[in-house]
């Protein structure tokens, strides 16, 4: 696969007034392949925006080597700019006196797109984001969610090879966030060779949306892999949760018969017991189910528990994500 983005030994230092310089990105290395949705996941202040600004030619790296679409961010700025676009969640841009359509047309002109073609794309994407009916609404009359969708359309109509999204669902409600994620998936699947690099501090979003994720914390890359591999990497064990009707003598019997770790929590008030299993292999579960049924215990619920990215973060950083954010 071709590399859409190459980051080598990237470092960015901010000089500050009356304070020591601050290293926002430190010795970072990763590649993004063509066709991927790649996520930068990290708590507030991790350095996500800094990385995305460097990749989108808005900021120079202090050290290191960065290529976007095969072009060097230092020397080939113009070549990069014509094949990328960047949309920042929560941004408000444009002019209040313009309508949605006019505003999008204006931005398309900065990419030299012929007006007829621009209008065609505007119609297409406004329909996709369900905003076509608002095409003649003035920009200053839109709600936050609408603005966010318009911003996304601004990024899509220039048909970038590489699309950068900085916190694309920031401040949106559940439904708004879902719509935005759907659009991103649709867009990337629409044509080959498109790439998305997005930042987020929502674990579930990264998990659902991204082909690969780079977890970053305090300017350092902590891990980079597919969500599945990241989750698998923290533990070889398989977790299951089973609820059965409450029965007093459950405990000992199972502890002796099972190859793995078992813990049982009783909820007599509900008449239930919750069995948590940690097994070396998936197929161990078959034995366990057999034992349960032999005892005549009805299985009320059965669930395989996957580790979350949250667990991955805790394992790698040694602290909870929110604790890092509150720092």
């Amino acid at each position: 696969m071709d590399k859409a983005i190459e980051v080598r030994n990237l470092k960015r230092v901010y000089r500050r007034l009356r304070e020591p310089p601050f290293v926002a990105v430190d010795n970072m290395n990763f590649d993004v392949y063509e066709g991927e949705i790649f996520g930068l996941l990290g708590p507030n202040g991790a350095g996500k925006t800094t990385v995305i600004k460097i990749l989108s030619t808005l900021l120079y790296p202090t050290e290191g080597f960065v290529r976007v679409g095969g072009f060097d961010v230092y020397r080939d700025v113009e070549s990069i700019r014509s094949i990328i676009n960047l949309v920042t969640g929560g941004e408000v841009a444009g002019y209040g006196i313009l309508t949605v359509k006019e505003s999008l047309w204006m931005f398309s002109q900065f990419y030299g797109i012929e007006t007829k073609e621009a209008l065609r794309r505007i119609e297409k994407y406004l329909k996709i984001v369900d905003m076509w009916d608002s095409r003649d609404t003035f920009l200053n009359k839109l709600s936050t969610g609408m603005v966010q969708r318009i911003n996304l359309v601004r990024g899509l109509i220039t048909d970038p090879k590489i699309l950068f999204l900085d916190e694309p669902t920031l401040g949106l409600d559940v439904e708004g966030g879902r719509i935005v994620r759907e659009i991103i998936k649709t867009w990337i699947g629409e044509r080959e060779g498109r790439t998305v690099l997005l930042t987020t501090h929502y674990m579930a979003e990264a998990d659902e949306l991204c082909d690969r994720i780079a977890i970053i914390n305090r300017g350092k890359l902590v891990a980079c892999d597919t969500p599945e591999n990241l989750k698998a990497s923290i533990s070889q064990d398989k977790y299951f949760e089973i609820t059965v009707p409450y029965s007093k003598d459950l405990r000992e019997e199972f502890l002796t018969n099972i190859n793995g770790k078992v813990s049982i929590r009783d909820f007599p008030e509900n008449g239930e017991s919750l069995i948590s299993l940690s097994l070396g292999e998936d197929k161990e579960i078959a034995n366990f189910i057999t034992i349960l049924t032999q005892r005549g215990l009805e299985i009320k619920t059965f669930r395989k528990v996957e580790p979350t990215l949250e667990d991955v973060f805790i394992k790698l950083v040694g602290r909870k994500f929110e604790d890092e954010e509150a720092r």
Binding site: L58, L59, E78, R81, L86, I97, L98, Y111, G112
Partner: protein
Amino acid sequence: MKKHVELFVRTAIARGYVRVKGQFTRDVNWLIASVVGGFLTMATYVYLYRSIQAPEEFSAMVLIGGFMTPYWLNVLWSVAVQLYWEKEMGNLQIIILSPAPLSAFLLGLTIGGMFQSTIRAVIILLIGIFVFKVSLVIYNIWVVVVVFLISLCALYGVGMMFSSLFLFYGREMWRVASIAQEPVSIASGIYFPIKLFGRVAASVVSLIPLSLGLDALRQLLLKDYELYFLNWKVEVLILVVMWVVFTFIAIRLLNYVEQIAKREARLTLRWQ
């Protein structure tokens, strides 16, 4: 190359469009207020000159000054400070991020600004001619138009040059501009001939293209105008040089500002 030119033109037109549309959607009160304001200042000077029995050509001189005033205010408040506003509005990052040159964007809003000002300037001119019964002589309309356009280009060149400085220094520069507006307006001879300043001072204020432009136009539009500083042909030549130099500096400054922005993480980021 063709692609570059096309991109430049499209960008300039798109940004110019916002200004033109703004002119027509902005409420009429605003237009009336700014025209009335310009007219009243002009009237003050006309009556002042008439009360001291100054020659009638002084009224015509004031009229030309009044006509050019909207352009000057536009240069100061809608061109020079505009990039700073664009940054505050979050548009600067988008234009820098795009393949379009920042200079095309700036040119677009400049030309749009000229258009806005022309509406006001023409209204003021017509009211002035009508109310004060001022007579202008036009020997050759095309010479007048060309000299006028060259003056405008040089004047807006100053605005474009200053836009980078405003962007860079933000609010401090703003204060400087507010303080400078009145003295500079007066010094550039909107309401009297700069010749009265004497050679040295007149040369200094000639650095403001408005001064030379006004002086040249007065020579072309007033009968037997004696109070000119330099011959209008010389002034036009100087204005052309200013136009070229200012535009060159403006473009260099824009590039420089972008470099600094990228190195020091300033300007394109809001609230910083």
